[in-house]
Symmetry: C2
Subunit: 470 residues, 2 copies
Amino acid sequence: MMDTSESTASRFLKSALTEESPFQTTAEAVAWLNATGKERRFTVTRIPFEQLGEWSFLAGSGDLVHRSGKFFRVHGVRVHTEFGTLPDWDQPIIDQPEIGILGIIAREIDGVLHLLMQAKMEPGNPFGVQLSPTVQATRSNYTQVHQGSRPLYLDYFFDRSLARVLVDQLQWEQGSAFLGKRNRNIVVEVNDDVPLEENFRWLTLGQIKKLHAQPNLINMDTRTVVACMPLAEARGAAKRDVPRGAATFGEEVLASFRSVRGRLSDDALLNWLTDLKCRVDHRVERVGLADLSGWKQTGEEIAREDGRFFKVIAVNVEADSREVMRWSQPLIAGVDRGVIGLLVSRIDDVLHALIQARAEPGSPDALTLAPTVHCALGYRRRGESDAAPFVDAIENAGPDQIRYSAIQSEEGGRFYRVDSEYRIVEIDNGEKLALPPNYAWVTFRQLQDLLRHGYVSVEARSLLSCLAFT
Amino acid sequence: MMDTSESTASRFLKSALTEESPFQTTAEAVAWLNATGKERRFTVTRIPFEQLGEWSFLAGSGDLVHRSGKFFRVHGVRVHTEFGTLPDWDQPIIDQPEIGILGIIAREIDGVLHLLMQAKMEPGNPFGVQLSPTVQATRSNYTQVHQGSRPLYLDYFFDRSLARVLVDQLQWEQGSAFLGKRNRNIVVEVNDDVPLEENFRWLTLGQIKKLHAQPNLINMDTRTVVACMPLAEARGAAKRDVPRGAATFGEEVLASFRSVRGRLSDDALLNWLTDLKCRVDHRVERVGLADLSGWKQTGEEIAREDGRFFKVIAVNVEADSREVMRWSQPLIAGVDRGVIGLLVSRIDDVLHALIQARAEPGSPDALTLAPTVHCALGYRRRGESDAAPFVDAIENAGPDQIRYSAIQSEEGGRFYRVDSEYRIVEIDNGEKLALPPNYAWVTFRQLQDLLRHGYVSVEARSLLSCLAFT
């Protein structure tokens, strides 16, 4: 059994507040990522499905599978839900029930936790390399189904004599595209120095947070692990109010992370979610990829007849520095850039965030806690009758309301250039907003508590990761 | 959206500390249950499967199903696990994916919350009636698949103008016998008086807790709902130490419910569980009831060839006061009385409980947090090589160590006279005990926090319910 220091949260917080590092400035980290991206060639070409060497469509179901039976399978689901504006639909989904690992090595340097980050390519990245965790590996990946090289630094996450655990949580990925996919989000602190491999650098959490201001520089895997790092003690924190106008936005967020009370009690929040889960009929039935209604398959893509939402495509990848040098694989391509937005407001002197309970076909238990606006994978159609609530408040926010805004992409190992504008918008008098029954105002402390237990969507975790405090 | 008072926990605690009620003494409540049991005839007869009118075995799979396709289905699972002493086994399992409701109406009377409880028969009860929640109904039950009468008081749980929610949590039932079965555990407080129907009484929580000292008087459904009632604020509690020897056992338990710190931090506890979930291979594959290896089926039962664990049987039920007057159904019968035991110990001046992460075929995510000793459904074989850890410490405890001990039965709607000895045993120097990696000492506050999110097994919840403070 492991143990963690009582002050893990304060150590992460200190790192989040530190932009100075003996290794590089934040600007130098950006330059390093850009230079690494230019240096490394990575050619991704769309190909017809029939050129997917190791992948093929099963007779009968039409499911897209790998010859080894490993990695993942693309099949279909038929969704019936009382949630949201669309009651029934079919869609392809990626079935990958394994638990992968997203791991970051931490080390205290000059009294501040530094995180060992990697400049890493993925075939679906919008461009260049992205800042990635020390290790990101599917189970197939690290148990060598790839026949590729073993991921660097892997032992530090499994051998407790080399490092101790600071964070270790199971987190779900996109429930709109994955059927129950999750990753172990883990941060370990090494006892001794570790060898610094090519394309790896030590950064403070504050530097990483500052890099979130740039478009597409931080990959999704980093964002979800960063969101799991506690910034306030799980227990026993005192309420600390910050008088209006006397604090920066970052300080208000931190005060909300430390706040004991919210607009809803923790019990009331759980009751709200239980009620939704019990009242709302939401069924997901597995169907063959060949049996999807409303979708058409050509030699090059599987897409909706009306062109909305997303497509399944195939790509060939040639890399110069990956575990396997050349391969082909299916990917999910978006149709339109998405919008992921969080409304925040001071309510009873504490900053609250507006979350929604959102039904997703691949989420455990149907519902996941998502940001105020979740319009990813082209699910957005402004002005259409099925437009999401509050999308105008996010998109039409004035510059004085926007606390964060940048384009961020989804995981490039499964998604082909899928990105969204991630935004945090502050409004006045949030408590006066009329809310649909599946929306609730919560403090950041409540959000962090729920996150620990797997309630919070990867898109909401991404937004938490984007929060900077300096 | 509902809200709950900040003082819900203190109101439940006050009720838990109150044995006085204007309606009856605790002794009179016992007499009422016994008298009601004598008055009401309820004849349960074992029958051959072929006499199960509405139930039959499907051709091919051999699964046992109801003609309507509703209620539940008995099929098989094949388990492969690295957890525990048995790596591979087949077993029948009850597949009932609906969310049922276990609801208790609360009302403040003379300043103390009283709970509206029912004297209720179930076909599998060891004898007589048991104290049951106001409402216990499967979804089929309350949506009238039974064609029986609608459960009394049901509206109070769905109409928010009649009552407000105090507790509302989704909780899993026996993962050893059910595939993902769970119930909504809900307590609502009525605004006005409610009509008192026959076989219903108002009791304080303290009276209910005192009745747990009697064998088989409190049904499982009551125990799980009682365990969900908070006894300390979810947040912001101050640490309160009780000097050794200066407090009763009940006061020590309550101090542990309020304790901020435990031997493991909350994060370390979650990390421990994540690590187990990721490291341990545990797979459950669905198979037909006819394809179970190591089981044999006769006209009257499905049992293991070696006679261990449990059986599937069929019964005919004739009742004088149930929604449906006469019916037949399958039930799970145990082979031996079980032992469910919790070791507790003062560690760092706070009472801790020893829990185990236990793999169960029907549990979400494979692992559930179970008591120190979980030997239900005849899984116990003292002295055998696969005996559970700590079973001796529970069974051979001296009278000065036993803090609770009584026979309690599992849910009589699915289990036929399945009961276990539930025990809480206090030991000195628990921190010196050598623990297998899947065991951990936790405070009662930590256990309650995890319970809210569905981590804690129904057997562990039962033991929490048995704790009395007067």
